[in-house]
């Protein structure tokens, strides 16, 4: 008897059977491999196919910016795993930002979505920063919301799409726009790299010999890469569906002896001395296509990043993380680690039409859009 009950519980856990019907109602589920749990979803923003599709249109629509030239996609390019190839992001009126545009793959699992700001705990809330932030201006739409929402409402696509996604609140407003953008970003899953096929799919030929050697070095105590770049996302920031708590990892990597005032780290928001130069660990999935690197894009390539860590921090900082102690490595070892990092690229994610620009050519949504 007891054994039967236990087995039933185990069955539910293993299959996720209790959850499937609820998710199916909205017509959306993630195409995740069996080994990957679903991400958490906020109570007031259930996923639906209609919402994700609306969010995708908004993501690529530069009419969301103050002058109609900057879309989310202007700094988040799918081919670069939703980064932009620049050292720091460029906003409206060619405003130079202070931070490197972060990639968006698997952001649904990240408890904090910002390089340094610990208060950015939902994608819904975070969307307000690029849209309306003024220091620096990114999309520069502060104070423009009435005009912006009216413009969206006048578009034939949005005239029906908002109602499909939000039957109880069928118009563009702060709530619906930020929820749809978050739902689209929450749909961006990337778990089909050669390394995934090797590690989880049992395809032992998916990795080159160099990448296999690099994997051993990556997870070796001599290099200590994996202490921060750990787990399925290769970052110590993680939260899944039904997580009892969120794991967050922010570190000072000794990039500067004195971090510049424009990007001082988490101290900017907490005022705590120990937060100087402290930034969130980025995921390494698709890292080979997201150059340049670090929170400010100040290292142009992976070889440079490894040189920074080999040195024990480019400049070194009084409070840098204790795991960053430096190492000696041969040229061959560095090449192997880079081969391993390159095996984390999910080509399908970079070209998946479900994440691509949905607008027809020369549409008003995109005709003035600056692309990276």
């Amino acid at each position: 008897m007891r054994r039967t009950a236990l087995c039933a519980v185990a069955f539910c856990i293993l299959t996720g059977a209790a959850l499937a019907p609820a998710l199916a109602e909205g017509g959306f589920d993630w195409p995740l491999p069996d080994w990957m749990p679903r991400p958490p979803v906020p109570e007031n923003n259930a996923m639906s196919a209609a919402k994700v599709e609306l969010g995708r249109h908004l993501f690529y629509d530069s009419r969301l910016s103050g002058d109609g030239t900057v879309a989310c996609a202007s700094c988040h390019d799918q081919a670069r795993a939703f980064t932009d190839g620049r050292e720091t992001a460029v906003g409206i009126h060619a405003t130079q930002g202070a931070l490197n545009a972060p990639g968006l793959a698997n952001v649904a699992y990240l408890p904090v979505n910002a390089w340094a700001n610990p208060h950015m705990t939902s994608l819904e809330f975070q969307a307000l920063v690029p849209l309306f932030g003024e220091a620096p201006e990114e999309m520069g739409a502060a104070g423009q919301e009435a005009r912006l929402f009216a413009a969206l409402a006048a578009d034939p696509y949005y005239a029906t799409a908002f109602g499909d996604a939000f039957p109880d609140r069928p118009a563009p407003d702060l709530f619906t726009v930020t929820r749809a953008l978050a739902a689209f970003q929450r749909s961006l899953m990337s778990f089909d790299s050669p390394y995934d096929r090797f590690k989880y799919g049992g395809d032992l030929d998916a990795l080159s010999a160099a990448a296999k050697r690099g994997e051993q070095l990556f997870f070796d105590h001599r290099f200590e890469c994996y202490h921060c770049h750990q787990g399925v996302l290769f970052t110590d920031n993680f939260q899944r569906e039904d997580s009892p708590w969120a794991e967050t990892g922010f570190h000072n990597t000794g990039l500067y002896a004195d971090y510049p005032a424009k990007a001082p780290g988490r101290i900017e928001f907490t005022g705590r001395a120990e937060d100087a130069g402290v930034f969130r660990t980025p995921s390494l999935r698709n890292v080979a296509v997201t150059a340049p690197y670090m929170h400010d894009g100040s290292i142009p390539d992976l070889r440079g990043v490894l040189a920074h860590y080999a040195k024990g921090g480019r400049e070194g900082h009084a409070m840098q993380d204790g795991m960053i102690v430096g190492f000696d490595a041969t040229e061959d070892e560095i090449a192997d680690i880079i081969a391993f990092l390159e095996s984390l690229t999910d080509e399908g994610f970079l070209t998946d039409p479900a994440h691509a620009d949905p607008w027809p050519e020369d549409h008003p949504a995109t005709v003035n859009r600056a692309d990276p």
Partner: protein
């Protein structure tokens, strides 16, 4: 002290009970720059340490915790009416009409607070400039007016801009990227958990406390003028790698002469008497 607190509590209880001899109260405000009435697009000369000429491009602020002050010093809360401009004791004062350079503004103006207060003789007015902590860190996408204006969001720092007075030198951009902006808001907002909203007040709440003795709402006007606040700041330059003007952030050289004159401490610099707001 204790008896005074008791009296205050009794008075507050009375004020909060509708029907008990409340009287309507309207408190009028005026926005000026260097003594001249504020209007979008108007130039104002002789500002700051270098006598800059500027155009005002925004002039808005949040006010909360409004009270009339009795002769014995007790504060009697004013119950602000619920309107598009006033919600749960917080009001937005708005002196820009969206014209000329005020491109990020809204057409309607709001230059007065309206509400009720327990009927009594009062000798002064007291209020805070800013949004109280409990309301400053919610989700603005679900907040009612006037806490839903994107131009007043301060989310990337946590909360709202309490004061937004934007000035652009008419001589054109010099060092400053766009102008000299006075933005006041809370900074250094730590939280207990690494992924929680701030649960305890920020290290620098930056809520301004204003008390105006001898103020009579029937005849007086509360005047807001940033000129004395920026008197020692050079509005033609911006400290490198900092936000344009003074946006309350620690370590901005553009703020060092400014924050004390808002009645607020700034780093090692102690607070002085606030010079932004006076009675007339």
């Amino acid at each position: 002290m204790e008896s005074r607190m008791k009296k205050l509590a009794i008075l507050a209880a009375c004020a909060a009970t509708p029907g008990l001899a409340d009287m309507p109260v309207t408190i009028n405000f005026a926005a000026e720059i260097a003594g001249q009435p504020f209007a979008c697009g108007t130039p104002y000369a002789g500002l700051g340490s270098t006598g800059a000429e500027v155009q005002g491009t925004d002039f808005r602020l949040y006010v909360s915790d409004v009270a009339m002050v009795a002769a014995d010093g007790t504060r009697v809360p004013v119950a602000l009416s619920e309107t598009d401009w006033q919600h749960a004791g917080v009001a937005l004062l708005d002196f820009e009409d969206g014209s000329a350079g005020c491109a990020n503004g809204t057409t309607p103006l709001n230059t007065a607070l309206t509400g009720t207060v327990a009927a009594a003789e009062y000798t002064g007015l007291s209020f805070k400039v800013g949004v109280p902590f409990e309301m400053n860190h919610g989700d603005p996408t679900m907040a009612p007016s006037p806490l839903n204006l994107t131009a007043m969001f301060w989310n990337w720092r946590g909360g709202y801009k309490f004061v937004r007075i934007d000035m652009v030198p008419t001589a054109g951009k010099q060092e400053g990227p766009k102008g000299w902006f006075l933005h006041l808001g809370s900074t250094m907002c730590d939280s207990a958990g690494k992924t929680d909203a701030p649960a305890s007040p920020c290290a620098n709440p930056n809520l301004m406390e204003v008390t105006l003795d001898g103020f009579d709402p029937a005849t007086g006007t509360v005047v807001i003028d940033p000129a004395p606040v920026v008197a020692e700041a050079d509005l033609l330059v911006n400290a490198p790698e900092t936000s344009p003007g003074c946006m309350s952030f620690p370590g901005d050289a553009d703020c060092t002469t400014v924050m004390a004159r808002l009645g607020l401490p700034y780093g090692d610099i102690p607070a002085a008497a606030q010079m932004l707001i006076r009675a007339r």
